[in-house]
Amino acid sequence: MLTTESIQKIDREIAKYPADQKQSAVMAALAIAQEELGWLPSEAIESVADYLGIPPMAAYEVASFYNMYDLKPVGRHKLTVCTNLPCMLSGGVDAAEYLKKKLGIGFNETTPDGRFTLKEGECMGACGDAPVMLVNNRHMCASMLPEQIDKLLEELK
């Protein structure tokens, strides 16, 4: 069910590991599938598992263990806000509250227009830049004070 482009990307990941260790590429392959599809439906997990020659349950264990995989659909923009202690001390929780109010949703919810999903994150290793948030697992935003948040939401259509 994955596009040729995704398969090519997965092949590049497989090449990083010894020939008999294709399973090593499962994390990357699931991330690639999620990037293509927006989330990880079970069909995608299964096709990744089949492609790597591992049991679907083995791939599902991985997909459900790491918290950047989305096993349910998310909005076009997934905002993951770190609220862990160092961020909290510098406004991480306040930023999350601000977003909740502004978007009218709670954690793990999606705006009715399908634009935003809000997630509570754990430490992203960027505590010096607090408050930090991650957009779609890819783009980390630093020092997210109200003005910066407003600007970000404006940019993300």
């Binding site: 990083k16 990357a28 083995a58 862990n84 202690l85 306040d94 783009h139 109200p146």
Partner: protein, 441 residues
């Protein structure tokens, strides 16, 4: 973010943010000189290990294990072996490796290739946590540069030594920072730590002997070899050689990374970081990442920042992540968030951690929300002793030590919460401590 301040810097010299990370600039700063010298002078692997041993370099990931000694545990001779770099930086408060990958990825590559040469490994992986995707990509770019220049891959610098190096990304699991969980993760499995022994040097990645070091450790290796073990040993203080990156977060004016020699007084670091935000009073500091027991201001202000002094004060230097809390901080709320973190990040494998971290969180959560019960403090303390030392990996200990530390020094705040159902630090004081809304006012 580049480095914000230094005292006698070593690793961070010449860092120039996004503008100075490429191979060309690294070479200009003396990069790959150590590797080149080893290859050109055909320095025996054992001699490289001895030099690292002699330098006193200790692992910068948190445990502080002597790096050269770790390398020497690898079996000698032929056979598949691996070098793994741990850039799964997720211990709350720690963000130094991120800046190393941003500013100087080639130092990590050079350190890993040298390690591969020293232990006889032909393959390596750098495990980079998924939240810093741009730096994972940057590291891959740096690898491409290094491959093209003959520093990585087959027949490195014409020596006949092969070392293939790749990046592997995480995708959101703190526990993968534990070295055996990290290996499981590279193998494409859940990040569940393995029981030790056997240690990775005997049975590691794909069940082959493996050396795992932290990003900062690998990045220090070229510097150690360039300046020589004796010179490196001379920095810092006894048993605490060299400089270290300290990540300062929380209630300081300039949160960020600082490179200082081990043994520097905490007060000096606090000053580098601009002092306590808003000129408020320092309340407490977690000196080594969230797992380290918290130390009250009066204790930490008398400490130097090295493995021994912090340990003597009742905490750990850990990864050098300094979380600063001022007088507006409610310690119950602070612990509640940390306990939630450890519960959330428990891999779920072994009973005391899976059940215990959840239980700890639920009790602290209750106390924070005014539903504490008499006896809760003792119950918490009792549970931590039932978790500590009884789990497969150190996450159980990591979840317990903050609880013990907070209860040891701030029991009164917990008792107050239980008795009165509210914070000892009034809410308006806590709110006043937030800089978030002030920015708009």
């Amino acid at each position: 973010m580049a480095i914000l301040g230094t005292i006698n810097p070593l690793l961070t010299v010449g860092w120039n943010g996004d503008a100075g990370w490429r191979l060309q600039e690294y070479v200009q700063r003396g990069g790959y000189k150590a590797l080149r010298r080893i290859i050109e002078e055909k320095i025996p692997a054992a001699q490289v290990i001895d030099e690292v041993k002699k330098s006193g370099l200790r692992g910068r990931g948190g445990a502080g294990f002597p790096t050269g000694l770790k390398w020497s545990f690898m079996p000698k001779g032929e056979g598949e072996k691996y070098i793994v770099c741990n850039t799964d930086e997720g211990e709350p408060g720690t963000f130094k490796d991120r800046d190393i990958l941003r500013n100087n990825p080639h130092a990590v590559i050079e350190g890993m290739v040298i390690a591969g040469y020293a232990v006889g490994a032909a393959r390596g992986y750098n495990y980079i946590h998924g939240e810093i995707w741009d730096l994972y990509k940057r590291f891959e770019e740096a690898l491409d540069e290094a491959r093209a220049a003959g520093f990585v891959g087959k027949n490195i610098l014409g020596s006949g030594f092969d070392f293939e190096l790749n990046a592997h990304h995480g995708y959101g699991a703190y526990v993968c920072g534990e070295e055996s969980a990290l290996l499981e993760s590279i193998e494409g499995k859940k990040g569940q730590p393995r029981f030790k022994p056997p240690f990775p040097a005997a049975v590691g990645l794909y069940n082959k002997p493996t050396t795992i070091n932290n990003t900062e450790t690998f990045s220090a290796v070229p510097f150690v070899l360039n300046m020589g073990a004796d010179a490196y040993l001379a920095i810092g203080k006894q048993n605490n050689a060299g400089t270290k990156l300290f990540s300062v977060s929380g209630h300081v004016n300039r949160p960020g990374n600082y490179e200082i020699p081990l043994g520097t007084p905490f007060a000096a670091l606090l000053e580098l970081a601009g002092g306590v935000r808003g000129g408020r009073k320092l309340k407490a500091v977690i000196p080594g990442g969230s797992s380290a027991p918290v130390l009250p201001a009066e204790i930490i202000m008398d400490c130097t920042l090295d493995y021994d002094a912090i340990s003597k004060a009742g905490s750990m230097l850990g990864s050098g992540a300094v979380i600063v809390m001022d007088e507006t901080t409610c310690m119950v709320r602070a612990l509640e968030r940390l306990s939630y973190f450890y519960h959330e990040e428990s891999c779920g494998q072994c009973t005391p951690c899976r059940e215990g971290t959840r239980w700890l969180y639920e009790i602290v959560h209750r106390i924070e929300h005014g539903k504490g019960r008499p006896g809760d403090v003792d119950l918490l303390r009792g549970l931590t002793t039932n978790i500590m030392g009884r789990t497969i990996c150190a996450l159980g200990d990591a979840a317990s030590m903050p609880v013990q530390g907070f209860l040891k020094h701030y029991r009164d705040e917990f008792e107050y919460h239980i008795e009165h159902g509210k914070c000892l630090v009034p809410p308006e004081v806590q709110r006043a401590g937030s800089t978030f809304f002030k920015a708009t006012v």
